[in-house]
C-alpha cells in the first residue's frame, strides 16, 4: 500500500515551516514522526497535497525540568520521554510514554504529533489533562499558549489553525505529596487502547485529597474530565467508597463509542475498573512508593 502522490518540503526553521504551511493552505499537512499519519496515507484515507517535514526542525527536541517547571519539546519521541529523568519526578509520564504502542512506534512518534492529532485514542492528550499542561503553539501570527483543556476541542480537532504548530508542552512537576498513574487497557501493544484512565492525586495529612485531576481516554470525542468527580474527592479522606463514587461520576460524563474494541457498556465497565486501579497506584505513589506502571492487556 502506497500513499497518493504529494509534494515534500523540509524547511530549515520553524519560521519557514509555518510560512510554508500558511502558503500551501489546508491541503498541506505537517509530518513529524508520522506514526499516525503515514498509515492513514497508505490506506489513502487522506491525500494531502503537500507534506511539510518538521521532524528535523532545530530546537524542538528537548526535555527540561527547571525548578519543577517542565518543558518538553514537541519533537521529543515517546521513547525519549519514557527513558528520561523526568519519569523519576513525574512517574505518570513514564506510564504513558512507555505504554504507547510498541518500541518501534515509540522510537518515531512524538508528543507534539500525538497532541496535535487529538485522536480520542491517543494517550498523551488524556495524560496531559491530569497535569494541567499548557500547549505552546507557533503560528503565522506568533506564539500562544493554550491550556490542554482548551486546546482539544473535539475529536481530531484542536485550536490549531492550518499553519500553526505545537512546539512545546509545559507543566509543573506535581508536589512531593502527589502521585499519579495512567493505565490503558488494550488488546495488544500495537492496537489502540480500548480505554484509558489518568489520575493525579495530591494527598495531605496522610490520605486527605488536597488536589486531584482525573481524565479518561478513548472514552468520547475528547479526553473526559469531570469537575463533579474531582469535587467529590477534593478535601476528603479518600476511601474506596468515595473513589467509586468519583469513578461513577466521571464515567457518567464519558461517551465511549461502540467499535471493534468493545461495546459502550463494556468500555464503561473497563473505565470504572481502571479508575480504581489507577487511583490505588496514584495513592501508593503519593505515599512515596516506587511502582512500575504497566498497561493491561486482554
Amino acid at each position: 500500500m502506497y500513499p497518493a502522490p504529494f509534494c515534500y518540503h523540509r524547511p530549515g526553521s520553524l519560521k519557514e515551516a509555518v510560512g510554508l504551511l500558511s502558503e500551501l493552505g489546508e491541503a498541506a499537512k505537517p509530518l513529524a514522526g508520522g506514526q499516525s499519519l503515514i498509515p492513514i496515507l497508505k490506506l489513502r484515507m487522506d491525500e494531502p497535497s503537500d507534506l511539510v517535514d518538521i521532524s528535523r526542525l532545530p530546537g524542538l527536541h528537548f526535555m527540561q525540568n527547571d525548578d519543577g517547571n517542565v518543558r518538553i519539546g514537541a519533537l521529543s519521541t515517546h521513547a525519549l520521554i519514557g527513558r528520561s529523568d523526568l519519569v523519576g519526578a513525574v512517574p505518570i509520564l513514564g506510564d504513558c510514554a512507555n505504554g504507547i504502542a510498541d518500541p518501534q512506534v515509540r522510537a518515531r512518534g512524538t508528543i507534539g504529533g500525538s497532541v496535535s492529532s487529538a485522536d480520542p485514542s491517543c494517550d498523551w492528550p488524556t495524560l496531559l489533562h491530569t497535569l494541567d499542561a499548557v500547549i505552546v503553539c507557533h503560528g503565522k501570527a506568533g506564539v500562544r499558549t493554550v491550556p490542554i483543556r482548551e486546546f482539544i476541542r473535539d475529536s481530531y480537532t484542536t485550536v490549531l489553525d492550518d499553519a500553526e504548530l505545537v512546539t512545546e508542552i509545559r507543566f509543573k512537576v506535581p508536589p512531593a505529596n502527589s502521585g499519579g498513574a495512567y493505565i490503558g487497557f488494550k488488546k495488544s501493544a500495537p492496537a489502540y487502547p480500548t480505554a484509558a484512565v489518568g489520575i493525579q492525586l495530591t494527598l495531605a495529612d496522610g490520605d486527605v485529597c488536597q488536589q486531584v485531576r482525573l481524565a479518561l481516554g478513548a472514552a468520547g470525542p475528547r479526553p473526559v474530565t469531570s469537575d463533579e468527580a474531582e469535587n467529590l474527592l477534593r478535601g476528603k479522606v479518600l476511601t474506596s467508597e468515595l473513589l467509586k463514587q468519583a469513578a461513577e461520576a466521571i464515567v457518567e460524563a464519558s461517551d465511549p463509542p461502540a467499535d471493534a474494541r468493545g461495546s459502550s457498556d463494556f468500555k464503561r465497565a473497563v473505565l470504572r475498573s481502571l479508575f480504581m486501579q489507577a487511583a490505588d497506584r496514584a495513592i501508593e505513589r503519593a505515599a512515596g512508593t516506587q511502582i512500575m506502571g504497566n498497561h493491561e492487556y486482554v
Binding site: 504529494f6 509534494c7 503515514i38 497535497s49 510498541d102 518501534q104 512506534v105 518515531r108
Partner: protein, 162 residues
C-alpha cells in the same frame, strides 16, 4: 499536487554502504530497501503499522520501515537483517533463532531479529518480560512466541559468554 513528479535526493546508509538515490516523496523506507537497493529480507505484512515484519534499525532504534518515508531517513544509518552476518558467518542472535526453533515460515523473522538486537544492545541480561515488551510490536503467526523468547534468551547468554 504538482503535475511533475517531485524527486528528492537522498543519501541513506544501509549495512555500511551509502546509497544515493532520487526518490519520489511517497516512497516508503521499506520500498527503498526492497526495491531501490533490492534487499528483500525486510518484509511487508500489514498496512497499519501492526505486524513489525518490516522492522529495521535506523540510527540505533528499531523502527517500522513501512511507517516511514525514505526521505525521512535521508542521512540516516540503517541496519537490516542482511547486515547481521559477518563475512558469511551468522550472528549469535540469528543462530539462536535457529537452534531454539524461533522461526517456522521465516517471514516475521527479520523483524524479530532487528527488534531483539536493539534490546540485547541495551540489556545484556533481559528478563522474559523485557523480551515481551521489546517484541510486542512484532507479529508471528507460526511459533506461538515461546521459542522466540527462548531464542532471545539464548542469544543473550551467548553474547555475554562470548
Amino acid at each position: 499536487m504538482s503535475e511533475q513528479i517531485q524527486r528528492i535526493p537522498v543519501e541513506i546508509t544501509v549495512n555500511g554502504t551509502c546509497y544515493k538515490r532520487e526518490v519520489e516523496p511517497r516512497m516508503l523506507l521499506v520500498e527503498f530497501i526492497r526495491e531501490e537497493i533490492n534487499l528483500t529480507g525486510t518484509h511487508i505484512g500489514c498496512d497499519t503499522s501492526y505486524c513489525g515484519a518490516c522492522t529495521v534499525i535506523l540510527d540505533g532504534n528499531a523502527v517500522k520501515s513501512c511507517t516511514l518515508f525514505a526521505v525521512q531517513a535521508d542521512g540516516g544509518e540503517i541496519l537490516t537483517v542482511e547486515g547481521l552476518e559477518k563475512e558469511g558467518e551468522l550472528h549469535p542472535l540469528q543462530q539462536a533463532f535457529s537452534t531454539e526453533h524461533g522461526l517456522q515460515c521465516g517471514y516475521c523473522t527479520p523483524g524479530m531479529l532487528m527488534s531483539s538486537l536493539v534490546l540485547l544492545a541495551e540489556k545484556p541480561e533481559p528478563e522474559d518480560k523485557d523480551i515481551r515488551k521489546c517484541l510486542s510490536g512484532n507479529l508471528c503467526r507460526c511459533t506461538g512466541y515461546q521459542n522466540i523468547i527462548n531464542a532471545v534468551q539464548t542469544a543473550a547468554k551467548d553474547l555475554r559468554e562470548a
